[in-house]
Amino acid sequence: MLKRIFPLLLLLTFGCIDPLNMGKMKQQKHLAVEGSFTNMPELNYVRLSYAQPYDYPYNEFITDAEVYVTSSEGERYNFVYGGDGGDFYANTAGSYFPEFPLDAAAQIGHTYTLHVVANGRTYQSTPATVKAPIPIDSVHFEVDEQVFSFKGYQERKKWPGYRVLVNYQDPEHEKNFLRWTFASQYEVSTQPEEYISPSSGLPAPKSCCSRCFLSEKLDRFRVVNDRLVNGKKVINQEVLFLPFERYLGVKHKLKVYQHSLTEEAYNFFRIMEQQKEAKGTVFDPPPAEVKGNMFNPNDAAEQVIGFFDASAVATREVVILRKDIDYPVAPFRWPDDCREIPGASKEIPADWLK
């Protein structure tokens, strides 16, 4: 809350943000591990990349690692490399998926460990026990305006949209930690007939296509605990903001995953959220090293970035139709073939009409 005062203070006092000369900060590479293992097979993956020095501006993913998950109860699940996945923004480059996806589901109460062998070095996570999920009672929406940046766009500006809110009953006799992720499918309608050729600057109408479908996985770091709401029915917990622009132009299917985290995972994501949001204001704690749960058992001094999150998930799916939104939304403008939108496809997803 306090953080929001600061931009105002800056405006009042003519503050500004400038690039910083990195000077002589020592630079090096580290393994970064993103891993999720849940009771929902579609959410299970491990992604490996390297943290890079600042003078190297490209991502470097690891494609030839050996990756598997074991449990104290004797299970073992091998993960295989899923390919580059084509699109840079599709979040699949560097990702490994279970070899037999339908079998690889976490059991509540079991304790899992991630193992990675990359470039001849062995890494593993500390064991994490899966906690029982908390059901979502309802998902609903509220009109709001928030700052949002679309992937691939430089501009961050304020958009009207829906705040996605959930209600749930917090269990009384235990500490609970929650995080939300989302699978989003939506239809867009564009204007290929208004296409203007960038080379000639003249109208060059295209005959196809105006109707496309997009799928996105939306990850948020936002976590909550039940320190102040233990045992209560929680209402209007904000979990996501969806701008009307592009996302809610025709029809949108949103699947909300509610993860029951361990306390360690909660602390990790909380600090990641702090750092993602940190703008160096008076009210921000000074940034510091984020300690994850991955390590090199043969070299305790090696810094490994990231967290292997083993959690159980409750889901709820909702469909939003443009015509049901009680707010004057300008139509989505994209005077081109809709397939030009990164990740868009003409194929109608299965179950779309249900």
Binding site: L8, L20, M25, V282, E289, G306
Partner: protein, 785 residues
């Protein structure tokens, strides 16, 4: 430690006896008195030169002085900033009590004016303390039309500002909460208004301030870095005077003068109203926001008779800030002190002080589903008595004692409406602190003086409270609590106590220069729990308890001091070394608000600070001012039992306040009789920050990988401010003064903080955030009648 205190007391007694007998059989008389202005205001710090013997003494906080001299004829020359020098002949054949009155100087260009009294007193054992009179303060360049105590303190050697937009300052490697900030003897818990652009001190009724950094008398205690002792005007006894001032964002009014012959009052008020400027912005968020504050001082002094006076000083301020739609912040400061000054005889006087300081903070959330009121605050009460005794030849003794009571409301969350929050009230933090001290400054010979003192403090944390016990061998966390000890109301939970020895020695090399050395130990039983770099309104104060041990500092310093005979130039060089025990740091991502197991998120360690401070000051002539240079380091070491409780592998690392190089240049030039030009330049090494050795993509977002704490440094800070001051109608009944000033003249974008971000279309990069990035001009007009 006990043994040390006992030997110190013995030494003190021996010195007393020695100094008494050393004088031999020659007949001595007491020459004492008060230095006042014509209008009856006392002039603390006035200088008195006694000849023959070329002895200099300065008046104390109450404008009083006392010295024992052999019988004879003496000439007293006395001087004070902005006053005409006075001369008085005295034939000392009995104990005498004088009243030295000084006239306000009519300023002329040709006169060689003393613009400031020397900051250093080469003849006393005092070191590391700086006195600033409001007359000099008003010549410093202003920000948003107002000169400010806290900002001017930052131009002194060994002091750095916590950053623009904050109200804190760091002294000799200590944190902001290690400074005891006083307003007429009452501690102030948040001295900032409007994010530190204004402070609680109204410059119109300010008299002077003194910042003590080392060699602190045993009279002072409670904080381990410094004491900022700010005094307000007492009200003159001649006639009612009025002052008013206006600038684009603030206005003020004050009056001071006699009500009856015995009673004088000071009433002052200020208000700042930037809200109308906010309305001019296009953004709805800014337009619907508001920010303002007001404050009021009321002070009355009743002179009962020659030997008794009562002074009541009160202050109230209210700040509020509203962010549209969801949250409002309000905080208030209410302070008051009642003092009874009593003169038993020319050798013994006392002051009884009752003080109270209440700081309240309220945050109200009005978002649907999350409505709440969160209240926190601190209530401080103190009763103390201080004595001055000069009855033993060549000794100035101070002794006294007192009791302080602390009640802290760490957080009370009250949800309402549709809120799904549970109400939560953290237990009050209660504590009581006793102190007693004795300090004696002994003039062993004209060349050699020592000051010896000892302070004893005893602090108890008082119930009702629950104390959590944690599992051994595991890092403390909410989940490693094994048991809870319940203490009832009024029951002592934990007691800490200790002696705080203080010693200082001065050896005069000649009439103009001396070498001094000092040692002091100080203890602090209250600290600010804040994980940000500065003091913000929502930070919570916390008393020492089972897990939070009192902070203790040992400081050694040695210095060379020189003042030219005509006071035209002075030079000081001081070197210090400080050991700090039980210093606080925080676990990564610590939860500080509404956390009943707060100790589990805190880390403890030691600190060390050392440095060298130089200052050259020119006190006379058309061009005057000072240049100060400091080289210092402040390091911390946090080596806990587990990796989670250790920072940087348990190695020494730079503290947040480590700013090795600090240079300040203040110059004031009288252009024409009514015009003066002043400038202030400051340069400080950048603040330490976490360094980043790489960047990475995680869940689609770009992050910086930080390694350890405070391993890199932000860009250096430097800034030039200038001001042009004009005195209209000087010497007439209605006086106007005006000034035009520019803060940050050459538009330096000083980094407040640094962070790493990825903006689409540009590579991952470190960025710095500057709170003030352009020159800020201001104009203000004051009228006095």
């Amino acid at each position: 430690m006990h043994r040390f205190a006992i030997s110190l007391t013995l030494l003190l007694i021996i010195c007393l006896l020695c100094s008494g007998s050393a004088i031999g059989q020659e007949r001595h008389y007491e020459l004492s008195g008060t230095v006042t202005s014509q209008s009856g205001e006392t002039l603390p710090g006035a200088y008195i030169l006694i000849n023959p013997g070329n002895r200099t003494i300065s008046a104390d906080d109450r404008g009083r002085f006392s010295v024992s001299l052999p019988a004879g004829e003496y000439t007293l020359q006395y001087q004070y900033l902005g006053m005409e020098q006075g001369v008085q002949q005295v034939d000392l054949r009995r104990n005498m009590n004088l009243r030295l009155q000084m006239k306000v100087k009519a300023t002329g260009l040709r006169q060689v004016e003393i613009i400031a009294r020397p900051s250093t007193d080469v003849n006393s054992t005092n070191m590391g303390s700086t006195y600033m009179d409001v007359k000099l303060l008003t010549k410093m360049p202003a920000l948003l039309g107002e000169v400010d105590v806290i900002r001017s303190v930052s131009s002194l050697p060994g002091v750095v500002n916590a950053g623009e937009g904050t109200g804190g300052f760091y002294v000799r490697g200590g944190s902001a909460d290690q400074n005891l900030v006083l307003l007429d003897d009452v501690p102030v818990f948040n001295s900032a208004h409007l994010f530190g652009f204004f402070s609680v001190y109204n410059p119109d009724i300010l008299k002077s301030y003194t910042l003590h950094r080392s060699g602190i008398s045993a009279k002072y205690g409670g904080r381990i870095s410094s004491i900022l002792d700010v005094k307000l005007e007492e009200g003159n006894t001649e006639r009612m005077r009025f002052k008013a001032g206006i600038s684009p964002v603030s206005a003020k009014f004050s009056m001071e003068g006699p009500v009856t012959q015995k009673l004088s009052i000071v009433i002052a008020g200020r208000a700042a109203y930037p809200t109308y400027l906010l309305k001019m912005f296009n953004s709805d968020n800014i337009k619907n926001s508001s920010a303002d504050f007001y404050d009021v001082n009321v002070k009355a002094k009743y002179r009962v008779n020659e030997n008794n006076s009562l002074t009541l000083s009160t202050y109230y301020s209210a700040d509020n800030f509203k962010f549209p739609y969801d949250t409002t912040y309000n905080w208030t400061n209410a302070l008051g002190s009642l003092k009874w000054d009593h003169q038993f005889n020319s050798n013994l006087s006392s002051t009884v002080t009752l003080a109270k300081s209440v700081y309240d903070n309220n945050v109200e959330g009005i978002a649907i589903g999350e409505e709440f009121n969160l209240n926190s605050g601190i209530d401080f009460e103190q009763a103390k008595v201080d004595f001055w005794y000069t009855g033993v030849n060549n000794n100035t003794m101070e002794f006294g004692g007192g009791v302080s009571n602390y009640t802290i409301e760490p957080g009370k969350l009250e949800p309402y409406g549709t809120s799904s929050l549970n109400p939560r009230i953290l237990q009050r933090d209660n504590g009581v602190e006793y102190h007693a001290y004795v300090n004696d400054e002994i003039r062993l010979s004209p060349k050699l003086s020592v000051s010896l003192g000892v302070r004893y403090s005893n602090f108890s944390k008082i119930g009702p409270t629950d104390v959590y016990l944690y599992e051994n061998g595991r890092p403390r966390s909410e989940t490693s609590i094994t048991d809870t000890l319940v203490y009832e109301d009024g029951k002592k939970v934990q007691t800490y106590q200790g002696f705080e020895p203080r010693a200082a020695i001065k050896y005069s090399l000649n009439e103009h220069s001396s070498i001094k050395a000092s040692y002091s130990r100080s203890r602090q039983y209250i600290q600010l729990v804040s994980n940000t770099a500065a003091i913000t309104p929502v930070d919570v104060w916390k008393l020492s308890n089972r897990y939070l041990r009192p902070q203790v500092a040992d400081q050694w310093s040695v210095g060379y001091f020189r003042v030219e005979q005509d006071n035209s130039y002075e030079f000081s060089w001081e070197v210090y070394y400080k050991l700090l025990h039980n210093q606080l740091d925080y676990k990564d991502g610590a939860v500080l608000v509404l956390n009943p197991a707060l100790e589990a998120d805190l880390l403890h360690g030691d600190g060390v600070a050392y440095g060298s401070e130089w200052m050259v000051k020119k006190n006379k002539g058309r061009l005057n001012g000072w240049l100060s240079l400091t080289y210092s380091r402040a390091l911390r070491k946090i080596a806990g039992d587990t990796p989670q409780e250790t920072i940087n592998n348990g190695d020494w690392y730079p503290a947040d306040y480590d700013r090795p190089l600090n240079l300040n240049l203040f110059a004031n030039y009288q252009l024409w009789p009514k015009w003066t030009f002043s400038s202030n330049f400051t340069y400080t090494s950048g603040r330490p920050m976490a360094s980043s050795d790489s960047w990475y993509r995680y869940y689609g977002h770009i992050f910086a990988n930080y390694t350890g704490r405070n391993q890199a440094r932000m860009p250096d800070y430097h800034r030039l401010d200038v001001a042009l001051n004009y005195d209209f109608n000087q010497g007439k009944k209605v006086e106007y003064t005006g000034s035009i000033s520019v803060y940050n003249l050459y538009s330096r974008r000083n980094a407040y903080s640094a962070f790493f971000r990825h903006y689409y279309g540009s590579p991952v990069q470190g960025y710095k955030l500057a709170v003030i990035g352009v020159p800020i001009p201001s104009v203000n007009l004051n009228v006095k009648f």
